[in-house]
Amino acid sequence: MAQSTAPYTVTSHGARSRRAKHATGRVLIYAALIFWAFISLFPLYWTVTTSFKVAKDVQLGHIVPWLQFEPDWKGWRSLGLSPDTIFERSTVREEFLLRFKNSVIMSVGSSLLAIVIGSLAAYGLTRFPYKFGPWRNKDISFWFLSQLILPPVVLALPFLVLYKELALLDTKSGMIMVYTLMVLPIVIWIMRDQFLTIPIELEQAALVDGSTIWGAFTRIVVPIALPGMVAAFILSVVLCWNEYFFAALLTSTNAKTLPVMVASQTGSQGINWWVMAALSAAAIAPLAIIGIALERFIVKGLTAGAVK
């Protein structure tokens, strides 16, 4: 960017000192950026390397692989995910894959459900005037958003009792409903913002052509709002995937999710660091990949509605 060599020959002393100051500023900026990148990545690096350590390396506090210690598959072997055990039967791996599958089904299922009913509600609230007793659109929207305030503890124990009566305790469908509830306000917030940016004239034209409001919505509005929906979907998946509180209380064997499995291991095997590290690394890997590949959508989802 600094291709301006010409004026440099005639610069005064003041300009040169400003240039020097500018250079130190840049160095400081890069130093700060690298420092924070280190803060953000070191725990990940630590977890991945620890999963290749044996007891001796853990106790000696070795940090750099190959230089300080020889990587070993021990942690991954006990999960049944190392190269030599991957084709053999392993109960730990089966358990892990079952929890993994549960987490996928629940987070994708509840995100899809939330996107469908949330988008419909958000579209209705941005387009049609509703009246529900004294409540108008603004009040209904606020009511949906206010659900964000509700802490999970308030619902968790009543849910425990109600789900027991409804035979929904420890089922995937029960958890999908809880998670849908959890992400619904966020989805409605994001989608409201999306629909507000779509000009109403497009739908009006379709209605003049004889389309119904539902036809106009599915054929014209949804395709335009699709990027926003994808953003809301990905953000919801991340939130559901990481949820722990409800899962810890409402699941026991069938519907246990990955975070609950990871948490249940921390207590029992305090010092088997390599196993825990391998398990944690495997549990966060999908999200790390999503974070790298779909960062654009997550940022879009987070900032929708908040920055205006």
């Binding site: 900026i29 620890t50 802490p151 009543p158 549990a283």
Partner: protein
């Protein structure tokens, strides 16, 4: 907020279709029939549950299916009675019904549980205990301690905000590899707090072999212990929580920075204002709305903090790190008494609603004064 203005005049106008009287009556009958069916199912199952009649379902789940059928009948009935307006109602109806049945109903049911002595693992079941739970709550030092901890944790949000703002400014500077740094800085937000609890709380901050302890020893702290004293433990929890949540604020602030009008910043530069002045006189006031949104959202999420505490300290030492949520979780796990836990949760909910309402009110008044 622009919606309300836009909706004053109906933007999408559809010719009102003529609905025959017969169709309206059929629609009303459908809703009435479905409601009667639902009421009958609830009554039937309650009688069975109370032991008055023998026949009935073993669980309440069939009643749930009747409720679903009722919800569908309500939607169809709306369209039959009100035509076009019914079609419009169908957009919000699913979300409203879902939220009402999942939030309002359990919360009201929770108020009932809060006044019982209900041990899930004992056979005696629930007993109405009146105000016993409230009395117990008044003398529960752990609960009030946890509430005080929430004050500390919420105050820590301001520190998170300051750091996140700084990071957003760094990312907004004209640097190479901006995209790379943005992805890296966002990473902690993606990770499950449970995994983070292990990665940082149980291994990096481990007293003997953890790299943080190693570093502390090099810096002259001979026996590093990150969870031994109340304040040290609290700060350690705050650090972990900050690590996970700073990216959220950072992304909001960065979006705010990028939305700033470029000319304003340029004109400030031409005026000869230095970076410090530009920041405090231009950027900070312009970013105030985003800042307030970010801090309030983070505060609301902070009030739910539980998973890190549950997985790292479980409230130790002596409840010093407890959040209200983790304490309720702990008491439920120890005594499986839903009655007292729900009482605490409901009291906490009331306090949160008062606090957040006051916060929103203060924020909007302050914003009006500043801008």
């Amino acid at each position: 907020m622009q919606t309300s203005a836009a909706l004053q005049d109906e933007k999408i106008r559809v010719a009102t279709d003529h609905i025959s009287a017969g169709r309206k009556t059929a629609g009303r009958l459908l809703i009435l029939g479905a409601t009667l069916l639902l009421a009958a199912a609830v009554l039937f199952q309650s009688l069975h549950a109370a032991g008055a009649i023998d026949s009935g379902f073993s669980t309440w789940r069939p009643v749930l299916f009747v409720y679903l059928a009722w919800a569908i009948a309500l939607g169809v009935g709306q369209v039959m009675i009100r035509g076009e307006h019914g079609h419009r109602a169908l957009f919000v109806l699913p979300a409203v019904l879902f939220t009402v049945s999942m939030v309002v109903f359990p919360t009201i049911f929770g108020i009932y549980i809060a006044f019982t002595d209900w041990n899930l693992s004992s056979f005696t079941g629930r007993q109405f205990s009146g105000l016993d739970n409230i009395r117990q709550l008044r003398h529960d030092q752990f609960f009030w301690g946890a509430l005080l901890n929430m004050v500390y944790y919420v105050l820590a949000v301001l520190v998170q905000y300051a750091i996140a703002f700084g990071l957003a400014l760094l990312l907004n500077a004209n640097v190479r590899g901006r995209k790379f740094f943005r992805v890296v800085f966002l990473m902690p937000f993606m990770l499950s707090p449970v995994a983070v609890s292990w990665m940082i709380g149980k291994s990096i901050l481990e007293n003997r072999f953890g790299p943080a302890a190693e570093l502390a020893r090099k810096l002259g702290w001979d026996t590093p212990a990150f969870f031994a004293t109340p304040w040290m433990a609290r700060v350690s929890i705050m650090v972990m929580d900050a690590w996970v949540s700073i990216p959220f604020i950072m992304i909001l602030m960065l979006a705010g920075l990028q939305a700033l009008p470029g000319e304003v910043m340029e004109s400030a530069k031409v005026d000869g204002a230095n970076a410090w002045q530009t920041f405090w006189q231009m950027m900070f006031p312009l970013l105030l709305p985003v800042s307030v949104t970010a801090v309030i959202l983070r505060t609301i999420f902070e009030l739910k903090l539980a998973d890190i505490v549950i997985n790292v300290t479980l409230g130790s030492p002596g409840g010093a790190t407890d959040t209200v949520s983790s304490y309720i979780y702990r008491t439920y796990r120890d005594r499986s008494n839903v009655g007292y836990g729900t009482m605490m949760a409901e009291v906490y909910l009331v306090l949160i609603i008062i606090f957040v309402t006051a916060l929103l009110g203060l924020a909007s008044r302050w914003m009006r004064k500043v801008t």
